[in-house]
């Protein structure tokens, strides 16, 4: 089937097998290997990217079902040569080791910062809670990091959130 996506600002029209995930389409066909495959079942978050501005697990998204969507991957976070503030903060605070979860962490954080609303740890459901370390930890828990860079990830995101 033919689908058209907007990927990091460029229009891409491709013929896809309905079985292909958005993640595999980008990694295996479009040369965008920044997004990672860690589990292929939505259990690790390494494939997180922004679909129409919202963070999502691209391994669970069939490419055919994304026809017409606007996709932002880690390759599209920076503004030209100027790194996204999250990218700079991740480097500064050593928020990764092996780097494999990092693209997903970055896209997840970018999506998360735009979300607002309560989370599972918010005491009062009524308002938009301040983005405390506890709130960041809960909201970023969909992104596993086996190297254990969590404290630095939280520090980096908190710095950008301020």
């Amino acid at each position: 089937m033919e689908i058209t996506l907007r990927v990091n600002g460029s229009r891409r029209t491709v013929e896809v097998d309905p079985r292909v995930s958005l993640l595999d389409l980008l990694r295996e066909r479009l040369g965008l290997t920044g997004s990672k495959k860690g589990c292929d079942h939505g259990q690790c978050g390494a494939c997180t990217m922004l679909i129409d501005g919202r963070r999502a697990n691209a391994c669970l998204a069939l490419a055919v079902a994304q026809d017409g969507s606007d996709i932002t991957t880690v390759e599209g976070l920076a503004d030209g040569d100027r790194p996204h503030p999250l990218q700079a903060a991740f480097i500064e605070h050593d928020a990764f080791q092996c780097g494999y979860c990092t693209p997903g962490q970055l896209c997840s954080a970018a999506g998360m910062l735009a979300e607002g609303g309560p989370s599972a740890v918010t005491e009062d459901l009524a308002g938009d809670p301040a983005l405390t370390a506890e709130e960041i930890r809960e909201r970023m828990s969909g992104n596993l990091c086996r190297c254990g860079a969590y404290p630095n990830i939280v520090t980096a995101i908190a710095e950008v959130a301020r």
């Binding site: 079985r19 079942h41 669970l60 009524a126 969909g142």
Partner: protein
């Protein structure tokens, strides 16, 4: 995955009209695509219903109508849900991850399948996946499986958080299908396994969930609590949705209690609720009510801990809700 055809439905009627044997409706895909990759689900035809115009949350009489294509994150963040149905907002926010909640739809969440390890592994028998093949969970890895309402054919649990809150809220599920529209009350949507564990719900082939109607919220205080060994992004070891309305004289006027991860369906604790109505709101009645409910528990060798956990969870949650 075996090859399949894909089509995007324009409206619910179009989706239903496209249905033929071998068809499955695709919502957010967070469970269906997962199961397709495992070979557990092998649809020949996917009808994508994720972009149907069923994505509104709107007041409906003294309640709320939630479209089936509403994303979990939008449900949890909606001001009316947060204000009037905090139990539901909390249940949704406790589920999965931010990414998954952005993808998963209300309809898909309700119809998600068990996370029993044998169900998810096509190289092993499972009565739910392959009727008549056996239930290895009974003699195997069932530490997270059912203690209530299970059968010799199946000891699976329903994994949803949201559905537990909906069961406690007496929600009604609207479906449309080849036979027309109908309304299914919660609890009641999800079945107990009996000797047909392959049927999770009473939804018939071709029927599509279009909306969930929430009646007026129960009076009194309410809460949703999820127990898990990992602090986030984990299916519940157990969860509870509860509401408690206590009269001025200190007796329970009404209450709602539903447990998650204890049975094939969200488990509405009717015995406990009956025992509580009219009883003084206090630890003694709460304990008696919990025990009345759990008399029918039949734990398996490796999940006996779920019985004291359920008792503690019911008692503690009610104590916190009591004025």
């Amino acid at each position: 995955m075996r090859p399949f055809e894909y089509a995007r439905a324009g409206d619910p009627a179009d989706a239903v009209a496209r249905f033929r044997p071998g068809t499955m409706y695709l919502g957010g895909g967070t469970n269906l695509v997962d199961l397709m990759r495992l070979g557990v689900a092998e649809p020949e035809f996917l009808v994508d219903v994720s972009r149907l115009p069923l994505d509104r949350i709107e007041p409906d009489g003294d309640g709320l109508r939630v479209g089936a294509a509403v994303r979990n994150s939008d449900l949890g963040a909606h001001p009316l849900v947060r204000e009037r149905y905090p139990m539901l907002a909390r249940a949704v926010l406790a589920g999965a991850s931010g990414q998954i909640r952005n993808m998963a739809t209300v309809g898909g969440n309700l119809l998600q399948r068990t996370r029993c390890p044998y169900f998810q592994d096509v190289s092993k028998p499972c009565n739910k996946r392959q009727p008549g093949s056996g239930c290895p969970a009974i003699g195997g890895d069932h530490s997270n499986l059912a203690i209530l309402g299970h059968s010799p054919a199946c000891v699976a649990t329903h994994p949803s958080d949201m559905a537990v809150a909906l069961a406690a809220l007496d929600a009604r599920v609207h479906v449309t299908g080849p036979g027309g529209d109908r309304v299914i009350p919660m609890p009641g949507l999800h079945r107990l396994p009996g000797d047909e564990p392959e049927r999770d719900t009473v939804v018939e082939p071709g029927e599509l969930v279009t909306a969930v109607h929430l009646p007026a919220p129960p009076p009194g205080a309410s809460h949703y609590r999820k127990v898990r060994e990992r602090a986030s992004f984990a299916f519940a070891l157990m969860s509870i949705a509860a509401a408690l309305d206590v009269a001025a004289d200190g007796t329970v006027r009404d209450c709602r209690i539903a447990l998650g991860a204890v049975a094939h369906a969200p488990w509405r604790c009717e015995r406990a609720e009956r025992a509580l109505r009219g009883a003084p709101a206090g630890e003694e009645s709460f304990t008696r009510a919990a025990e009345a409910e759990l008399e029918q528990a039949r734990p398996l060798p490796r999940n006996a801990h779920k019985v004291p956990l359920a008792r503690n969870l019911i008692v503690r949650t009610l104590l916190e809700l009591a004025p």
